[in-house]
C-alpha cells in the first residue's frame, strides 16, 4: 500500500508539472507528435513495402525457354549452370509435356487443339522456372542466364514493379533517417523541458531533501513527467495514422496503382501501430527525463 500511495502522489505531482510549464510542455508534445506521425507513416510504409515485396517475390519467376534441339544432357548441363549462379533460390523443370497437360486442363479449346500434337511435334518449349533470393537483382540474374548456350528466351516479371520496389525502398530509408533524427531532437527537447521543471522547483526539491526524501522519490515525478509528455504526444499521431491509413485503404480500394501492389488490411495492423506509437512516445519521454534527471538532479 505504502509504495503505491507514494507512486500515486508522485504521479499526480508530475501531472501538475506538465501543466505548470504548459507552454514548454506543449513544445515538447508538439515535437513528439510530429515525430510519432512520421514514425507511424514509416511503419505503414515499411510494413506495406515488406508485404508486397514478399508477394512479388513469391510471384516473380524467371522463365527460361530452352532450345528445341537441346538434348537431355544439354538440359542437365544448363540446369547445373543456372544452379551455380548466386541469387538462385529454386529451379524447377517444366517439360513441354507438362505444359501441354496443364494447358489442356485449363480450357476446352486448348484441349482440342493440343491433343492434335504428339510428343515429337509439340510446338511448346521445355522451360525452367526459377525463383530468386533477392528480387532487386532479378534483372542481373536474368542477364547472366541469357549468356548460357542453348537458351532461346529469358523472361521475368514487369520492370515497372521492380522500379516501384526500389522507390519504396528509398522512401523507407529516408523516413528511417528522419525518424532517428527526430527522435533524438525530441528526446533533447523533453530533457530540456524537464530541466526547466527541475529548476522551477529547486526550492521544493531542496525541502524534500531536507525532510528525508530518497533520490528515487525526488526523481520519480520528473520521470513520470517525461513519460506523460510522451504519452500525450502519441494521441494525435495514433488518431492521424490509424484513421488516415484506414481512410486511404478504403479510398484506394486496398491497392496502390495496380492490382499487384496490395495494401495490408488496416484491421490487421492498426492495433500494433497504436501500441508501437505509445511505446515509442513513452520511451522517448522516459529517455529525455532520464537525461535531465541525471544531469540536473545530482545528489
Amino acid at each position: 500500500m505504502k509504495p503505491f500511495r507514494i507512486l500515486k502522489s508522485n504521479f499526480l505531482e508530475s501531472f501538475k508539472g506538465v501543466f505548470r510549464n504548459f507552454s514548454l510542455s506543449i513544445a515538447s508534445i508538439t515535437c513528439i507528435t510530429i515525430t510519432l506521425i512520421l514514425v507511424g507513416f514509416s511503419i505503414f510504409v515499411t510494413l506495406n513495402v515488406n508485404n508486397f515485396t514478399a508477394e512479388i517475390e513469391k510471384d516473380m519467376t524467371i522463365v527460361v525457354f530452352l532450345d528445341r534441339k537441346a538434348s537431355d544432357e544439354d538440359i542437365d548441363a544448363i540446369k547445373e549452370k543456372i544452379e551455380s549462379l548466386d541469387n538462385i533460390k529454386k529451379i524447377t523443370f517444366n517439360s513441354k509435356e507438362d505444359v501441354k497437360k496443364s494447358m489442356q486442363k485449363e480450357s476446352e479449346i486448348f484441349n482440342t487443339i493440343l491433343s492434335e500434337y504428339t510428343e515429337s511435334n509439340n510446338p511448346l518449349q521445355d522451360s525452367f522456372l526459377i525463383k530468386v533470393e533477392d528480387i532487386n537483382r532479378i534483372g542481373d540474374t536474368a542477364n547472366e542466364i541469357q549468356t548460357i548456350e542453348k537458351i532461346t528466351l529469358v523472361k521475368y516479371g514487369e520492370g515497372s514493379v521492380e522500379e516501384l520496389v526500389k522507390i519504396f525502398d528509398l522512401v523507407k530509408k529516408i523516413t528511417y533517417i528522419a525518424v532517428v533524427a527526430l527522435v533524438i531532437v525530441t528526446a533533447f527537447l523533453i530533457s530540456n523541458t524537464i530541466k526547466i521543471t527541475i529548476q522551477s522547483r529547486k526550492r521544493e526539491i531542496e525541502i524534500r531533501r531536507l525532510v528525508g526524501a530518497s533520490n528515487a522519490f525526488i526523481r520519480q515525478p520528473f520521470f513520470f513527467e517525461g513519460i506523460i509528455i510522451g504519452f500525450l504526444g502519441s494521441i494525435i499521431p495514433i488518431a492521424i495514422c490509424c484513421f488516415g491509413y484506414s481512410y486511404l485503404y478504403e479510398r484506394l480500394g486496398g491497392k496502390l496503382f495496380t492490382e499487384i501492389i496490395r495494401l495490408i488490411d488496416p484491421k490487421a495492423i492498426n492495433y500494433m501501430v497504436m501500441v508501437a506509437l505509445v511505446v515509442i512516445g513513452v520511451v522517448v519521454g522516459a529517455l529525455g527525463s532520464f537525461r535531465a534527471v541525471r544531469k540536473y538532479l545530482k545528489v
Partner: protein, 232 residues
C-alpha cells in the same frame, strides 16, 4: 555512545577556508544546546555537518549511531529522517497552505491520509497554529511562518531538532515566542535541540548549555551558560 558526537572534526571548504578546527562535542538525548559565536566563526558549518549538507574534512560525526562522514550520498535521506531542520528563512513553499506545507514532509512516507492529517494537526497544535491551517505563508507574520517551519521539522517525530538562527529575521518579542515553542518541544517531546544563534538576549534568558565557537575552535562549553562578551 552519545546521541551526537563530534570527534576531532576539521572542516576546510573547497576554497581553502578553514571553518572548523579540531572540534570535539558530545550531546546527549534530550539536551538543549546553543551554539554561539560571531559571524563566520563556524556555527552554520557545525549545523551543516549534522544534517550532512557538508562532510567533515577529517574526524568523525555521529548522529543517532550514524557515521555521518561515511554516509553515502544515496543514504543521506536515512539520516535526515531522524532530524528536523529549521532555518532563518523558513523555507516554506509559498503556493502551499500552512497545512500542506507541514503535510509535505510526510508525503515521502506514503502514510494514509487520516494518519497524515492526525500528525500534521498534532504538530501544528504543538506550535500553536491550529487556527491558521488554510492560510498561505505570505498571509502570516514572520514568527508564525517560523512556527510553521518548526511544525514541519517535528512532524516526523525526529530525535533531534536542528536550528540555524531561527530567530534571525524576527523582532525580540516574536523571537521569544518562537523560543518558547522550541523549548516546549524540548520539554514535551524530549526532542534534542541544537541551535546556532547570535541572539544574546535569547541565550541569556533560556539558561541552557552554551557552546562557544571562535574562528572554528570550541572555546567554551558551559551548562546554564550566558552570552559573555569577553569570551567572544
Amino acid at each position: 555512545m552519545q546521541l551526537i558526537e563530534f570527534k576531532n572534526v576539521y572542516k576546510r571548504y573547497q576554497n581553502g577556508v578553514s571553518a572548523l578546527c579540531d572540534v570535539n562535542l558530545e550531546i546527549s538525548k534530550g539536551e538543549f544546546v546553543f551554539i554561539i559565536g560571531e559571524s563566520g566563526s563556524g556555527k552554520s558549518t557545525i549545523i551543516k555537518l549534522l544534517y550532512r549538507q557538508e562532510k567533515p574534512t577529517s574526524g568523525e560525526v555521529f548522529v543517532g549511531g550514524i557515521n555521518v562522514a561515511r554516509l553515502r550520498n544515496g543514504k543521506v535521506y536515512k539520516l535526515r529522517r531522524k532530524l528536523g531542520v529549521v532555518f532563518q528563512d523558513y523555507k516554506l513553499l509559498p503556493k502551499l497552505t500552512v497545512y500542506e506545507n507541514v503535510a509535505f514532509a510526510l508525503e515521502i512516507y506514503g502514510l494514509k491520509k487520516s494518519e497524515v492529517r492526525r500528525r500534521t494537526l498534532e504538530a501544528l497544535e504543538q506550535v500553536g497554529l491550529k487556527d491558521k491551517l488554510r492560510s498561505f505563508p505570505d498571509e502570516l507574520a514572520g514568527g508564525e511562518q517560523q512556527r510553521v517551519s518548526i511544525a514541519r521539522a517535528i512532524v516526523n517525530n525526529p530525535k533531534v531538532l536542528i536550528c540555524d538562527e531561527p530567530t534571525g529575521n524576527l523582532d525580540p518579542k516574536t523571537s521569544m515566542e518562537v523560543m518558547r515553542v522550541i523549548e516546549s518541544i524540548n520539554n514535551d517531546l524530549g526532542t534534542t535541540v541544537i541551535m546556532a544563534t547570535h541572539d544574546e538576549k535569547i541565550v541569556n534568558k533560556m539558561k541552557k548549555r552554551v557552546v562557544v565557537i571562535d574562528k572554528g575552535l570550541v572555546v567554551d562549553d558551559t551548562m546554564k551558560g550566558k552570552y559573555k562578551n569577553e569570551t567572544i
